[in-house]
């Protein structure tokens, strides 16, 4: 018992002594690896020891001890404190030290994410995880295991703008394929939230066409959203896959997303009443998938698309005729739609109030 106590004490002393030069830290890393078992058995009493270390100077040692002492289940009462201490560590730690033990760092950060979600305060996790991602990655092309967690917190906290800054980097190096799938899927959702549909399509497309040997749920959900977004953004959807798509995806994706394929076919006919009837009839399907909001955007986009097509065809057209062709109830409603579209810069036109026609 005494010996153990001494070991932890001596380990702390080693950490304090060996955290300055690169050679020392490499030596310390070996020592820490050897004493992992010791740390595990002593995990309950380690919280006190942490106070003796400086996270910015003794980052590597701090990380090992922090990892060991958060391994045990954390009670509700402790949660707040744990969140605070991990957030402080993430902010202060030295990047070059924690990169020596990325696994430890990732597991600490993942626990942090779990706690934040349990605590129902995802907003508190956004900034620390962004820092963590930036400290962990060695190049901007690298996808770390923390990327998807960070994006998930952004989604939960509705901080879409913060999420975008990570998505702007092009990713080429991937550690885990699952991280890649989740990163693109969450990223796609964040872009949808910001109405950056082009980027969203690109990310979702990456998921759908990524190499895979068996179909997975992430790809299926991504494909559903891909269909909806391409209807909203491009006004059309082609059911054929690019030829580099994995055969597993080509075989199975359509079967899992039949209501969405039908929706796209319905959209292609350009008949608003049919589309609305279809959405009404399949409302439950879309609701279960949490896609009803997007589906509603699809429906409203068909009005826009039809009005846009009219401006290609007509120089002037009365609002009544617009209302008739686009199947709106009244000229007034048509005017509202047109006005909105002119404001958004989606069509170039003027409305002549006195005669009630449209000049485009």
């Amino acid at each position: 018992m005494n010996l153990n106590m001494n070991s932890v004490e001596s380990l702390v002393a080693q950490i304090q002594g060996l955290s300055s030069s690169g050679d020392d830290i490499a030596h310390l890393h070996i020592l820490l690896k050897q004493s992992e078992e010791l740390l595990q058995s002593e995990s309950t009493r380690l919280a006190v020891v942490l106070a003796e270390l400086d996270p910015s100077k003794h980052s590597l040692g701090y990380l090992y001890i922090l990892e060991a002492c958060t391994a045990a289940p954390i009670s509700k009462e402790q949660a707040n404190e744990v969140i605070l201490s991990i957030a402080r560590f993430i902010n202060e730690c030295a990047a070059e030290q924690i990169r020596l033990a990325p696994d430890k760092f990732i597991s600490v950060c993942k626990r942090f994410k779990d706690q934040v979600i349990l605590f129902e305060a995802p907003m508190r996790g956004v900034a620390p995880l962004l820092t963590a991602v930036r400290k962990l990655k060695t190049t901007s092309e690298q996808l770390t295991a923390l990327h998807p967690d960070f994006l998930l917190l952004c989604l939960l906290a509705k901080c879409y703008k913060t999420g975008l800054c990570i998505l702007e980097d092009d990713i080429y190096e991937v550690d885990q394929p699952r991280d890649f799938f989740l990163y693109c899927y969450y990223g796609g959702m964040i872009c949808i939230g910001q109405k950056r549909f082009r980027k969203a399509l690109e990310l979702l497309h990456n998921v759908v066409t990524a190499p895979m040997s068996t179909i997975n749920a992430i790809a299926v959900e991504a494909y559903k959203k891909y269909i909806l977004v391409s209807l909203i953004h491009l006004g059309q959807f082609s059911t054929s896959f690019p030829k580099y798509t994995s055969s597993a995806a080509q075989r199975n994706l359509k079967n899992f997303s039949q209501p969405y394929i039908d929706l796209a076919n319905c959209y292609g006919n350009g008949k608003i009443s049919e589309l609305e009837a279809y959405v009404q009839a399949n409302r439950e399907n879309f609701e279960i998938d949490n896609n009803l909001g997007l589906v509603k955007q699809v429906v409203s986009s068909i009005y826009k698309r039809n009005i846009q097509r009219l401006t290609q065809t007509y120089l002037t057209l009365s609002l009544q005729d617009i209302a008739n062709t686009v199947q709106l109830n009244s000229p007034k409603e048509a005017e509202m739609h047109v006005l909105q579209m002119i404001q958004d810069g989606e069509i170039y036109a003027t409305i002549n109030q006195r005669m009630e026609w449209l000049d485009s």
């Binding site: 394929p177 990524a210 190499p211 040997s213 068996t214």
Partner: protein, 402 residues
């Protein structure tokens, strides 16, 4: 060999009656009055006559005309030996033409018995030929079999036998003979892919073909293309046959001549009138009926496009007049054409004027270049990413690891 030629000439006539009669068929049709069935049927002979009559009976919807057609079909069937077709015709009449036109079981049995005997005879003959291994005789034997089945309405068997003669063909004439037979039967069966493939085979023949055969082959090919809805090519093929005699043919069919003249001299209203008159009868044509609506739409669209082509702006009122339609109807048609990108113009719905659109080529090109550039950029990035994923063999782990 003389008998040969005769047979092939006769058969050519048969094909002619079946298929490529692009202008003759219009002769009895005068200004869209009720089709004179007798005159119409007189133009055809053999199976095709019966088939056309039955088709008219099915389609026309007028009881008196239907019965007239059925009566003639019944008479025609009785002249031949085709009991299959006979059994088809009788229930359609359903006793409506009196006792003379009932199911004549004595006749059918007699014919069937005769047919059975003839078949046995042909079989034994063929077997004898085959043991002797005389190519020409075997070919004749299969040919006879084909004729026999054809006469009795077993088209599938007839086709098989005709095609079998192929292995025993010694001269190019024989091959043509075989091809024509196969084409004839395929047309009857409605197997138009066979038609085009045998036309191709016949046309590959090294020896020069005589003019009539060429015309028949072209006609058959035209028909096949028509079925495949490739109107443009079909029209071209038909043009080639008609080339020399085109004018003469047209004289026989004043409506069609007028129609074409009107089309080219831009009298669209009268052109469309003529078309409207012809429509009822064309719908009764065995080969054209499926395509009439589509062809009519195409002709009308073509006329609309031609009308707008030379103008910078067109008054819709005048245009509607020229096409004998209302302004709003015309607007809808034009809208569809503009949406399809067939007319480059925009409609001023308030002043009812159509303005030709002058696309800004320069701007459009720049836009396209920029778009292509960004698409290329995106595709390359996605490709690099996929390549990296594959390189590190992340494929297999993807679904199983977690």
């Amino acid at each position: 060999m003389e008998g040969e030629d005769e047979a092939s000439a006769q058969m050519i006539d048969e094909i002619y009656a079946n298929g490529g009669d692009s202008s003759q068929r219009h002769r009895p049709i005068i200004n869209g009055e009720q089709l004179d069935i007798e005159a119409y049927a007189a133009l055809y002979s053999g199976r095709t006559k019966i088939a056309r009559l039955l088709f008219i009976a099915n389609r026309c919807g007028v009881v008196s005309m239907e019965l007239e057609a059925l009566r003639m079909a019944y008479d025609e069937v009785k002249k031949g030996e085709n009991t299959l077709l006979f059994r088809d015709v009788v229930p359609k009449i359903n006793g409506r033409l009196g006792s003379n036109y009932g199911p004549d079981s004595a006749w059918t049995e007699a014919v069937d018995r005769r047919a059975e005997q003839r078949k046995e005879k042909l079989e034994s003959e063929l077997n004898a030929y085959r043991t002797n291994l005389i190519k020409e005789s075997i070919r004749m034997g299969y040919n006879d079999f084909g004729d026999f089945y054809y006469a009795h309405g077993a088209l599938g068997d007839a086709f098989k036998n005709y095609v079998r003669t192929r292995d025993y063909c010694t001269t190019s004439k024989h091959i043509i003979h075989m091809c024509l037979h196969a084409i004839l039967v395929s047309i009857e069966m409605g197997q138009f892919t066979h038609v085009s493939s045998y036309v191709g085979k016949a046309e590959q023949n090294p020896d020069a073909l005589d003019a009539i055969t060429v015309a028949k082959l072209r006609a058959a090919a035209g028909l096949a293309l028509l079925e495949a809805k490739k109107y443009k090519q079909a029209a071209r093929k038909n043009k080639v046959i008609d080339n020399i005699n085109f004018r003469n043919f047209l004289e026989l069919v004043p409506e069609v001549r007028e129609l074409i003249n009107d089309f080219y001299s831009s009298h669209y209203a009268s052109c469309l009138d003529y078309l409207g008159n012809l429509k009822a009868n064309l719908l009764l044509d065995i080969h054209l009926h499926d395509h009439v609506e589509m062809l009519y739409d195409d002709i009308r669209h073509k006329a609309l496009i031609q009308y707008t082509h030379p103008f910078v702006s067109v008054d819709l009122g005048m245009m509607a007049n020229a096409f004998k339609t209302s302004v709003s109807g015309l607007e809808k048609e034009l809208e569809a054409l503009i949406t399809d990108n067939q007319i480059q113009a925009r409609i001023d719905s308030h002043n009812k004027i159509l303005y030709a659109r002058h696309a800004d080529q320069r701007n459009a090109t720049f836009q396209r270049v920029l778009q292509t550039g960004s698409e290329f950029d995106r595709d390359v990035r996605a490709m690099l990413l996929r390549a990296n994923l594959l390189k590190h063999d992340y494929v297999l782990k993807s679904a199983r690891k977690h």
